[in-house]
Structures are given as structure tokens and as C-alpha cells.
Symmetry: C2
Subunit: 311 residues, 2 copies
Amino acid sequence: MTEPMFDRIALVGIGLIGSSLARVIRREGLARHIAISTRSPQTLKRAEELGLGDSYSTDAKEAVRGADLVIVSVPVGSSGAVAEEIAPALRPGAILTDVGSTKGSVIAQMQPHVPADVHFIPGHPLAGTEKSGPDAGFADLFQNRWCIFTPLPDTDPAALEKLSAFWRACGSNIDTMDAAHHDKVLAIVSHLPHIIAYNIVGTADDLEAVTESEVIKYSASGFRDFTRLAASDPTMWRDVCLHNKDAILEMLARFSEDLAFLQRAIRWGDGDKLFDLFTRTRAVRRSIIEAGQEVDVPDFGRQVVAHPEKS
Amino acid sequence: MTEPMFDRIALVGIGLIGSSLARVIRREGLARHIAISTRSPQTLKRAEELGLGDSYSTDAKEAVRGADLVIVSVPVGSSGAVAEEIAPALRPGAILTDVGSTKGSVIAQMQPHVPADVHFIPGHPLAGTEKSGPDAGFADLFQNRWCIFTPLPDTDPAALEKLSAFWRACGSNIDTMDAAHHDKVLAIVSHLPHIIAYNIVGTADDLEAVTESEVIKYSASGFRDFTRLAASDPTMWRDVCLHNKDAILEMLARFSEDLAFLQRAIRWGDGDKLFDLFTRTRAVRRSIIEAGQEVDVPDFGRQVVAHPEKS
């Protein structure tokens, strides 16, 4: 067995991402000690029942004390308060990172609290499911997914390389970019899709002419695809909306503009415009499958799951 | 072995739906003879290579001659022309049905051509995947999905019962409703989701500030869920948009109104409104899973497909 990369990794927050990290750190032997902290005593108890770590505390300071890697996995709106709380307990030379879906806001919230002798490297693993909490995590969550770092001007290259090696050991591919670009990219690939999904499920839920039971029964004809994103953690997504406002509003404006164009084509019966768009979008999915970011089976593989013997 | 339900079933159109029907009809022994017809010689040849039927013709009249069940599975914009073409060859007493996603328009197109001694029963199996063509079909496609009939005022109850028994044998559950209600229900559960998916994929494809390769690479963070619907057959969906215009425009207006409300909540930082919506929508997915219309595994079961040994 090789040396663990870190002596003590502190996981602050043990939801879907934190608990997936705990599992892959254990499986890959990336730390001698996994210290887990979360504010909720029930969640902490559950993490302990699942055996996710080596020590458990509702006090984040206690978990991060002596850690050479600290990973904050909380809703982005809480990252400032967490940074303020743990700052005095951070060990000199430690790497501090996060997993937040917005980076400009997280940097603005956390950086002022970070001691000068701690390496703060904002990060974002692009991985998740619609489930939340410590039971939802699994060691393969990051496999072949991208982890984006948005290093600060004074980020130590050696610390960045060490954190990159950690995420690669968790299965991720690594990219770096500046925080503003990250926030714009994520607004289109993640935030807008979630907001649109929440919105359409809300619209369907509000109809009078179509009953809710009809929406449920007939959902396999398309609607159910949206319900996965719309079942994501409400606190996390409220915070994302509040903390990446500008980029999200820009993408929403573009989406609405395009939708008005499409709506007009429908109203005026312009079949060629519709056919052109519907053809172009087909190619995008093929590219995603070729890039290994989607499974190459119909219906996301639901048939295989539902009828395993008939796949 | 029990008697087949029908002597000769004619399948006019052998795409995803037609070829799935061919496979389940064969597996369940529902016909003595399966006659297949499609306009494209290449598609017909492929159907023959796959052994989907007992006879093959590019002439729909030839396929339907003598059939006691005729199922038209073509884009809804072609249903009038098909009805006109096959009408003279339909056998007295035959059941004629279709699988179109819009019903008001299909009835208006087909009914004028149907001879008085033929039972025309408009139908719509709510099943499909993003794939198209005769290779894409599979016998389980209709398993536990709903098939909706929109009978006409003079529909013969015995013929309706016979057609219902056929679809139940294909695995479907049966509902009946009037065509106008069907078109409104489908506008929200199927047509709007497809249009929104096409639209967001188009918006992402058009950005200058975010490259297409970034959209592809980072798509697992939400965007890729939309690409499945946006990879559906362009001809089919062009026709749906053109043939269910009024209901679709109504649902689009509601969706846009709700989106404006959500956008305003984001702009003004109204976290409570966001949290309320994001919580409400979560419950809808649970209901769909409980109704057996969705698989109860994270990420649509992609993990199980991608890492079968680790499920």
C-alpha cells in the first residue's frame, strides 16, 4: 500500500458531495484520518452509523484542527459563515477548498477569513444526483466527471497540483479557469437547466384544465425527464440562484428570447424553422455521448434498469 | 397456444413505434400475419432484414388489403395523405387506428377518408425514446405505459374493446378521453417539455462566451438531461408543433408567465419564493415514481448502466 496523500482530511458538510468524498477517500486510501463535521446532530449521527469517517463533530473547528486538507461542502450561501468559523483552527500550510456551484460569490465570502499561511483553492466538482444527504453519496460519483478549479492570483502551484492529484484519485478530470468564466459556463450548463426544470414542473402542477394525476400518469411522454433536476436539494438551489444572479439572469434572457422566436414559428406555422432547430440539437447529444459524459443507451438506460433481463 | 387476436395486422410506418409494435405482436402471437409498409425503400429493406414482418411493401394499399387491424404510425402531418391512400383498400369491418401525438388534427385529417364500414379509433400510446427508425424499436416499449383512445361519437364499443385488448396484450394501460382534452394534456406532459428541451439546447449551442466544447464537457451538471428529448425525431416534432398549435401556445404562455415570476424572484433575491417552488416540485417526482412511471434510482439509473458491477 502506498502512503496516503493526506494525514487528515476534514469534511465540513456531509451531504451528497461530502459523503461521496468520504467514501472515495476511504476506498482509495487517500487519508490516514477522515474528520467529519456537520451542524445537524441527526445528520452527523447518520454519517457515524454509515461509518463514513474516523471522527465526528458538530463543531467544524474541531474537525479542521490539524487537517492538511479541508473540504467545505455546504450550500454556497453558508460558505462565508463556515470560513469565518473555521479560520482560527486552520493549520498553517493546510489546503482549504470547497465544492460550491458558484465561484465568484464563494471567493468573496470565504477569502477575507482565510489566514495568509493557508492555501485557499476554490473548486467545483461537476457531479451530483437529485438525491441529498449522507445516504445518497457513493464512491463513483466523480468518476470521469470534471472538477473545475478557479485559482486565485497568488495560488501556490504546488498546492494546486496536490489538490489536483487528490481529485484525479477520486476519478475526476481537472480544468482550471477564472471564477467569472466558471460562473457564466455553469449558468448555462447547470443553473439554467435546473431553473427551467423547476419552472416547468411548477407550471404543470398549477394547471386547472389538466389534473395532477394526469400529469403523473402520462409523465413518461417527456415531462418526467424534467422532474429529476426539479427534485434537487431546495436549499442548495435557492443559494445558487441568489449567488450567481447576474450570469443566470443573462442566460434566462437569452433563453426567453429564443423561446419567443420558437413560439412565433409555431404560431405562424413555420415548419422549416422548427425542423432546422430540431435537427441541430440532435447533434449536441451525440457529441456529449462521444465525450463520455452520457450513457449511450435509449431513455438514459431506464429500460435496462427496469427490465434488466431484456437489455 | 391461443388463437391470435387478429388474422392480419398491417403496420403502415415502421419507425420506433411501428417496429416496436411488430416485435411485441410477434412475441405475444397477436396476429397470423404482419404486413409492413413504409414509403422509403431503404427503411422497408431494413425492416425485412430485421425480420419484423411476414410481408413487405412500399405500397400501403397492398399492406392493408385484407387486414382486420391497420395501425398507422407516421408523423401526424402525413396521416391525412395515408388515410386517403389506403381508404379504398380497407376491408369492411376492419379496425383502423393510429399512434399520433395529436388527436384533434389527426381526426380532422383521417376521418373524412374512412369508409363507413371501417371502425376508425384514434389512439396514442404514450411511449417512446429519443431514437428513431426500425432498429430503435423493442418489444417492451409499451410495458406499463398508457395508451389513450379518443373515440368518436359513433365508435363501436365492441371494436373499442377489441383494440383495448390488443394494447393491453402489448403491455399498455388504457384510458379514453375526448380529443380536445387529450391535446391539452399532451401539450403539458409531452409537447411543452420537448419544445423547452429543444430551445435550451439551441440557446446553449448559440453562445459566444461559452464554447460548445465547454457545454459538452460540463453537461453532466444538468444540461445533458435536456438533450435526450432534444434528440427526438425532427420530422415528428415539427408536425406535432404544427398540429397542436393552440394547446401548445397556451402552455407556452403559462410557462413564460411562471418563468417571469421566477426571474423576478432571482433578480430581487427573494429566497423564500425560490425555496417554496423548489420544495413543491420535489414531491411531483416522488408521485411519478410511486405511480410506476419512473425508475427509483438516482440519475435515471445511469450509474447502474455505467458501472453495472457497482450498483
